[in-house]
């Protein structure tokens, strides 16, 4: 029996293909992980004893805070825009995604600029009204609570987008049944919708948490010492990359453990819609006190996470536009857009292929590999870059065979290397969205399709892809915007003389020139808005 199953697995091209793909994507991560075997020296012991304990505690607090806030903001707003009609619903159904186009560290700089001593608001209060509120307006944003708020505002759209894709495809039958049993709206939400949406919510929140773990820029600027700042202290301050990689390996174990824990806790529960006839949701109209309340609820994350920072950035841009924007901006825009578009296609395609294979041909090994291949999102980009450079440089070493003086062939520093790097880095973004979407499709649909003689390819094309539409759109959209914002990988792996908008913004920001960074940040946001808007129309058109 076992051997028959193994035989089947070994001869199945899908399994082979998925295994190979997942392995290639996981390779850089395994390179990083292998450092766990290197024995620690004095520096390692110093870091472990003096720094790590506080860093771990800070990180856990940060994670808990962001998990809670993104959950509340993301799920509540997704539920509102999918289930109810209220003033502004249509606008918010896409506008609530927008904060994701604002890189968290830019948002941090911007909010610090709004709240600090030289912000226009503060200057007005001080110079015209004579108010003196001390160093900060309202509260000290350079703190753990400050970091939690800024990160949550930047990351809740992951939860919003994936939950919304889920809620809006949910069959209204379930809710009608619950309502006919005399359940109140709140009971339906907490008793039926929330538990059923678990895969989507978990997918979204875990993406947000992985972003928290890989964040370095914001934590460093806010002076919050997290596990990741510890990785960079080891690497940069102690110039000990081995310890940095070793810490990263432990980070991978931690994330993998969390994923497995959640999966085991979910047990054999299934989330597909078998048995419930699908009927699209008819949105309930909210009457006025409630309608306005819904409007306000959606307004908060949009204002704080997007509109207010955007206004500040436009103000700064107006000061610096003339000096900063040059003829190269079109080139930056072109580079950023093209990279993001290619990467989002590649990541979505690989994620779909692997997720479909894992679903169709249960193989523990491939499933495990696919999980490993998503861990690149939890690591700081600079660490992933080392994992990529090592195998690429090894290949380049082989290629020198074909080179002669004055003629070099190399993979490193090419678009190809960059796209591959994004695949490693953003696999989780594609995979989590698509996998959670597949949870909702009943496997019996696939079986029916196969028993009707359709090939696997046709089953994927005719059954899964149309049903996964929303998930595929969210996946490619999220990857697109993530690549647009991506910094550390692009910084070190890019070809000579190659710049992107994110790099331009970062160069000014890291030099403490926030106002000069604003125009590039604005263009990132606007570029990010285009696909959000287009894909949202696409989704609205068909659902």
């Amino acid at each position: 029996m076992l051997s028959l199953q193994m035989h089947r697995q070994l001869t199945n091209p899908w399994i082979w293909g998925a295994m190979f793909a997942a392995l290639i994507i996981a390779l850089p991560l395994l390179v990083v992980f292998s450092n766990i075997l290197i024995p620690g020296d004095d520096t390692w012991m110093h870091i472990l004893k003096n720094l790590i304990p506080t860093y771990v505690i800070n990180t856990l607090i940060l994670m808990a805070g962001v998990a809670l806030l993104t959950f509340i903001m993301g799920v509540s707003t997704a539920w509102l825009v999918s289930m109810y009609s209220f003033p502004g619903r249509k606008f918010f159904s896409w506008a609530l995604i927008m904060p994701i186009a604002l890189p968290a560290y830019i948002s941090g700089f911007t909010w610090a600029g709004i709240l600090d001593y030289t912000s226009p608001v503060y200057v007005f209060l001080r110079n015209h009204l004579g108010v003196d509120t001390g160093q900060y307006l309202f509260f000290n944003i350079h703190s753990i609570p400050g970091a939690i708020i800024i990160l949550s505002l930047a990351l809740y759209p992951y939860v919003f987008l994936i939950s919304r894709a889920y809620f809006s495809r949910q069959s209204s039958t379930l809710f009608e049944v619950a309502a006919s049993l005399g359940k109140k709206q709140s009971q339906i939400f907490f008793g039926v919708a929330l538990p059923l949406a678990r895969p989507a919510i978990v997918a979204g929140v875990s993406l947000a948490l992985m972003e928290v773990l890989n964040d370095y820029g914001l934590a460093r600027y806010f002076g919050v010492d997290t596990f990741t700042t510890g990785i960079f202290t080891a690497w940069f301050a102690f110039s000990h990359p081995q310890s940095a990689l070793k810490l990263s390996a432990y980070l991978m174990i931690f994330v993998l453990a969390l994923i497995i824990l959640e999966r085991t806790q979910r047990g054999k529960m299934r989330y597909d819609m078998l048995g419930a006839a699908y009927r699209p949701i008819k949105r309930t109209t909210l009457d006025n006190p409630k309608g306005v309340l819904a409007l306000i609820l959606c307004m908060i994350p949009f204002l704080l996470g997007f509109l207010i920072p955007l206004i500040m950035l436009s103000y700064w841009s107006s000061l610096t536009l003339v000096d900063v924007v040059d003829y190269r901006f079109t080139e930056l825009l072109f580079n950023s857009f093209l990279l993001a578009a290619i990467a989002s296609l590649v990541v979505t395609a690989f994620a779909l292929f692997i997720a479909f294979t894992v679903r169709s041909f249960p193989s523990r090994f491939v499933r495990f590999l696919s999980r490993i291949s998503t861990l690149g999102y939890a690591l700081p980009g600079a660490v992933v870059a080392i994992g990529i450079l090592i195998p690429f440089l090894w290949i380049d070493g082989m290629l020198t065979f074909f080179s002669s003086p004055g003629f070099r062939i190399a993979l490193t520093g090419t678009w190809f290397a960059l796209i591959f790097a994004y695949l490693v880095r953003f696999m989780a973004v594609g995979y989590n969205s698509i996998d959670s979407g597949m949870e909702r499709i009943s496997p019996s649909l696939d079986e029916a399709s196969r028993s009707l003689g359709l090939s696997n390819m046709k089953t994927l094309g005719k059954i899964n892809i149309p049903l996964l539409r929303g998930a595929l759109i969210s996946a490619s959209l999220l990857v697109f915007i993530d690549v647009l914002k991506e910094l550390p990988l692009t910084l070190i792996l890019r070809p000579f003389n190659f710049d992107t908008l994110a790099i331009r913004a970062f160069e000014f920001a890291s030099d403490e020139r926030v106002a000069e960074a604003a125009p590039a940040a604005m263009i990132i946001i606007i570029t990010g808005m285009v696909p959000v808007f287009l894909l949202n129309r696409l989704m609205a058109g068909k659902s």
Partner: protein, 342 residues
């Protein structure tokens, strides 16, 4: 048939992307730079115009670049390495990533304390780590040295950023060099004791915190004061004008300075072009650009200072040769941690 064609196309594209990284161009110089200023790129363009040598540039974090150079080894395409921190330069030399330059011209232009004795690297600009104080609350006569900042009279008045910052790390190395590890630990504890708030934000934020009344004196790089004085935000300019600049330790070893340095990498394929570019960066014309547009002190001793730098005044820089700071970086980092300077 159709599908086969598509696969071919994709393969062709892949090959094309790989080939685009082949360099057959003879007259180039490949630069890995940890600096990311527009002045640098402007000067590189000028260099190309004058010499016909094309400058290929990758800018990234200095530590990432050092790591990449290490991983690339013999196959590295880099010819030249630039970083804005002496400590990082020394580390990359100790890792065997650099090779000595032709000393002839550099010896004449750059003072000995700003370069490696064996010409593995040279500084091309310098920055001083000074005290910035509120003119209305602090009398400059009260200020004297980095050490004096630990005395009780400054309790709760000192502002300085995190120990993660390169400039603080190299400053610490200079303190270790002057007082030994025990003395440096006492110093760090004294500063931590006197801090007005736990370290946060960047150098600019320290100056703003003075304006907001959080503290009275901050340890800041001159370069950032130049940026504040020329900020597009008028309020930042106002604040910067309220501040005085004080060069500490004028009565003993001098004010701590750091350099932006350039070096030729160990396996540089275009060694001569890198040498030419470095000499170009040290030329009076280029040095004036750094000084006027980037508020950095010229490393070339023959170049006159622009008005702003003159206004801040002449000062005695710390005379310790920068190449001797490298060995104190790591102990300095441990001292920061022990003193609780996050």
């Amino acid at each position: 048939m159709h599908r086969i064609l598509r696969v071919k196309d994709i393969l062709f594209l892949i090959v094309l992307t790989i080939i685009t990284s082949c360099s057959t161009d003879e007259n180039i110089v490949n630069v890995y730079s940890g600096r990311h200023y527009q002045t640098d790129e402007q000067l590189f363009r000028e260099f190309t115009r004058e010499t016909g040598i094309r400058v290929n540039l990758v800018k990234a974090d200095t530590d990432q670049l050092i790591n990449r150079l290490e991983l690339e080894g013999v196959n590295s395409p880099a010819d030249m390495f630039i970083t804005a921190d002496a400590g990082r330069m020394i580390q990359s030399m100790e890792k065997g990533l650099l090779q000595p330059m032709n000393a002839e011209v550099i010896r004449q232009l750059v003072p000995a304390n700003l370069r490696d004795p064996n010409f593995y690297w040279t500084g091309f600009t310098k920055r001083a780590r000074v005290f910035v104080y509120d003119k209305s609350r602090v009398n400059p006569d009260e200020l004297s040295s980095y050490e004096e900042l630990t005395s009780e009279k400054w309790a709760g008045r000192v502002l300085v950023r995190s120990s993660q910052n390169h400039y603080n790390q190299t400053l610490m190395a200079s303190i270790v060099a002057a007082h030994g590890q025990d003395g440096a630990l006492d110093w760090a504890k004294g500063i931590v004791h006197n801090m007005a708030q736990s370290p946060r934000g960047n150098d600019r934020d320290q100056v703003k915190a003075i304006a907001a009344g959080v503290g009275d004196v901050a340890i800041v790089n001159t370069y950032y004061m130049g940026l504040l004085l020329n900020s597009p935000n008028s309020e930042e300019r106002n604040i910067a004008r309220q501040m005085g600049i004080f060069f500490p330790n004028q009565n003993d070893r001098g004010t701590h300075i750091n350099i932006s340095g350039a070096a030729i990498t160990a396996y540089a394929p275009n060694r001569d072009n890198a040498q030419r570019l470095i000499e170009y960066l040290l030329s009076p014309g280029a040095q004036s650009v750094f000084a006027e547009q980037n508020y950095e002190y010229p490393a070339n001793k023959n170049v006159a200072w622009p008005a702003l730098l003159k206004e801040w005044g002449r000062f005695n820089p710390d005379t310790i040769p920068l190449d001797q700071l490298g060995k104190h970086l790591q102990p300095g980092m441990i001292i920061f941690n022990q003193a609780g300077w996050n």
